[in-house]
């Protein structure tokens, strides 16, 4: 005798759905963060570029958080994929590992707060540290970086960079701006989600 039952329970089939979402939002995240970071080509705006990146990527990330069934795995994978692509284009392996760490932290935030607004906001902040960490080599191996640049650029740019790396404040500024962008972006994203995605039925 047939019994009324629920369908579509969490299983390896819905895992594929989550993995495809990771791939898709990963591609989107890469494209958008590349666009946002292009502001950083202007030396004046390097510190603010992380803010632009986290602002622009907040909306897709919030949609991503609401769609995935397994937040820990998906955030970890998203950041790992970003890290893998960055390692392949020249950053160190340590950067890749840092990305995985941020992903795990973001996933934990989502899980602990059961994907409510605070949880999503914290996860967004964690993920904003990913592009911020790309500039760490300027402080960790300053002489090599500056020596490399001096073979090409003139003294004014080097002085500017040296000024940036002389103290740790710009680095803190990088991370701080990124986090601030993530928080502001989070509020914008919540408004966009309420205004659009929840009414369309894409997000719960």
């Amino acid at each position: 005798m047939a019994v009324t039952r629920k369908t579509g329970k969490k299983s390896s089939n819905t895992l594929v759905r989550d993995l495809v979402n990771v791939g898709i939002f990963g591609a989107l995240y890469l494209v958008l963060s590349g666009l946002g970071a292009s502001i950083g080509f202007i030396p004046m705006f390097i510190v603010v570029s992380t803010c632009a990146v986290s602002l622009v990527t907040s909306v897709p990330l919030f949609l991503f958080f609401s769609k995935v069934e397994r937040p820990l795995l998906c955030c970890e994978l998203l950041c790992m994929l970003f890290g893998v692509v960055m390692v392949f284009s020249g950053h160190g392996i340590s950067y890749g590992l840092l990305c995985v760490l941020y992903g795990v932290l973001a996933g934990l935030c989502l899980k602990l707060f059961h994907k409510n607004f605070v949880g999503c906001l914290l996860a967004n902040v964690m993920i904003s540290f990913v592009p911020s960490s790309m500039m760490i080599p300027l402080w960790s191996s300053t002489e090599e970086y500056l020596a490399y640049c001096s073979s090409v650029c003139d003294s004014a740019y080097i002085a500017h960079l040296a000024e940036l790396s002389s103290s740790y404040w710009p680095l803190i500024g990088l991370f701080g701006f990124g986090a601030a962008g993530a928080v502001v972006g989070g509020f914008i994203a919540r408004r966009v989600m309420k205004k659009h995605f929840e009414r369309i039925g894409l997000a719960k």
Partner: protein
């Protein structure tokens, strides 16, 4: 392999109160080809999802009843096991393929099932020979046309050797010639003894292939006919159920045209708009468009036909200033042409239908916007989110925003693909109203029923050039022959 649906009730929500299928029973014998027809939203796609296992393993909802493939219950099998036995082909070619090039895509299904590489190569060679795909090997899928992508999808599914094939509106985005190729593929499967279940609106190409047509209504199988029986009942009966015609040759009859005969006999005016300088190419040696001048009658609906790849979409984009060199774009801006895209979701931006219409206006005039919405039967949805509406309503919202931006020429890119008969008539009525208000309409379409119902003249394109242009009255058979043989 037999398929058996016993007492199925299913709902996408948490309770069975708003069930889309209610106590449905369906038996399909091995080797049969069954067509599931019905109006949009009747539940035929849900039935196909029950057969290929997406319900109960993928979609969330509430279910009652059993689905048996052979003698095994789908609830007891995993999706991977079901996919060995059931092969699925879906409606949209662009979101079916997982790989970038055709060879990998053909092997994809077999690789997923863990087959031996030598075996996979053998099956690939078989399927390429059977489906005549030699010219498509080794190419990037992104460069293929919709019909070619759909053929690769069918071949890829066929290579895994399933017993049952489930197709969900496979002909929705295809031209008539590719639909004939699709019919070949389905008859080949039938000859090989496979069971084929097709969910379709366009019935004419399955006339010789289908064994049974099941009409789904209100979550039940309301009627069942053989194709011959349905054809014998006549076109009026089919139209009353919302079904598309069974026989394209019938379309040439004058009896079918009783609705639009009056419009056809008295064209509103003899003025026409002329477009010049419509040549466009991506690479210097290979012009996509090569048209010196094109004349479209004012206040009338002109159909633009031609096989896939003839350059129709490119012409639409150049006319509306979305592609082309600087002169062409400036000319387009001056003449005020608007394109209603095939995927209307690309054109909807705001959070309410009213805002959407106001967005295009240079001077924000809410009264005028509400008038436009009323003319399109959308006034009651003024505060709804555009993307939450149905497909036909979204199309009308896009038309509204086009009207509000003050265009004179409106170009439509396949407005009726995947629509049932009633929805197609609704689109037809909207377009006729638009033309009556003085706009010039150009419609790119593969839908002969729609053309015969709404258009007054025809432009046929081939390889980037305009080959023929004639008024439709008196030339219906010429049109249908051209569309079938092109």
């Amino acid at each position: 392999m037999n398929i058996s649906l016993k007492n199925i009730s299913f709902s996408y929500s948490d309770s069975l109160d708003d069930a889309i299928l209610k106590n449905l029973n369906l038996e399909i014998r091995s080797g049969e080809c069954v067509v599931l027809a019905g109006e949009s939203g009747c539940g035929k796609t849900t039935i196909s999802k029950l057969i290929n296992g997406l319900i109960p393993h993928y979609h969330s909802g509430t279910m009652d009843g059993d689905v048996l493939l052979g003698d095994k219950n789908t609830a007891d099998m995993t999706l991977a096991e079901i996919s060995r036995v059931v092969g699925s082909v879906f409606q949209n070619p662009r979101s079916q393929f997982f790989n970038i090039d055709t060879d990998c895509e053909l092997a994809f299904g077999c690789e997923n099932l863990g087959m031996d590489p030598e075996e996979i190569k053998r099956r690939m060679a078989n399927v390429v020979q059977e489906f005549h795909l030699e010219h498509l090997l080794g190419r990037s899928i992104f460069n293929l046309s919709g019909g070619e992508k759909q053929k690769i999808a069918c071949a890829s599914v066929s290579a895994t050797g399933p017993e049952i094939f489930v197709l969900d509106e496979p002909s929705a985005n295809l031209d008539l010639k590719t639909i004939a190729d699709l019919k070949e593929i389905v008859s080949r499967w039938k000859k090989a003894g496979k069971t084929v279940v097709i969910v379709e609106h366009r019935l004419y190409y399955l006339r010789d292939v289908a064994d049974r047509i099941c009409y789904v209504k209100d979550g039940q199988i309301a009627y069942e006919w053989t194709p011959a029986e349905l054809e014998a009942k006549g076109a009026e009966y089919a139209a009353s159920l919302g079904l598309r015609c069974m026989n394209l040759d019938q379309l040439g009859d004058e009896d079918m045209m009783c609705h639009s005969r009056l419009d056809r006999e008295s064209p509103s005016s003899t003025e026409s708009i002329t477009f010049t300088n419509l040549t466009f190419c991506y690479h210097r040696k290979h012009p996509i468009l090569d048209i010196d001048r094109l004349e479209l009658p004012c206040g009338q609906i002109t159909a633009l036909v031609g096989h896939n790849g003839a350059g129709k979409s490119t012409l639409a984009q150049v006319l509306c200033g979305l592609q082309g060199n600087w002169h062409q774009k400036r000319a387009a801006r001056k003449r005020g042409a608007y394109l209603i895209m095939q995927d209307v979701n690309h054109q909807l931006f705001t959070e309410s239908v009213l805002d959407e219409v106001l967005l295009g206006m240079k001077q924000q005039d809410e009264k005028l916007a509400l008038e436009i919405l009323e003319g399109l039967n959308l006034k009651q949805y003024a505060d709804n989110h555009p993307m939450a509406l149905s497909g036909g309503q979204k199309q009308r919202v896009a038309i509204g925003s086009g009207i509000s931006s003050g265009c004179d020429v409106v170009v439509f890119d396949e407005p009726t693909s995947g629509l049932d008969y009633r929805q197609m008539l609704a689109v037809s009525a909207t377009l006729k109203k638009l033309a009556a208000s003085g706009k010039t309409l150009l419609v790119i379409t593969h839908d002969p029923e729609f053309i015969l119902n709404s258009c007054q003249s025809v432009v046929r394109m081939e390889y980037g050039k305009v080959v023929e242009q004639y008024p439709l009255l008196g030339n219906q058979e010429k049109l249908i022959e051209a569309m079938l043989n092109v």
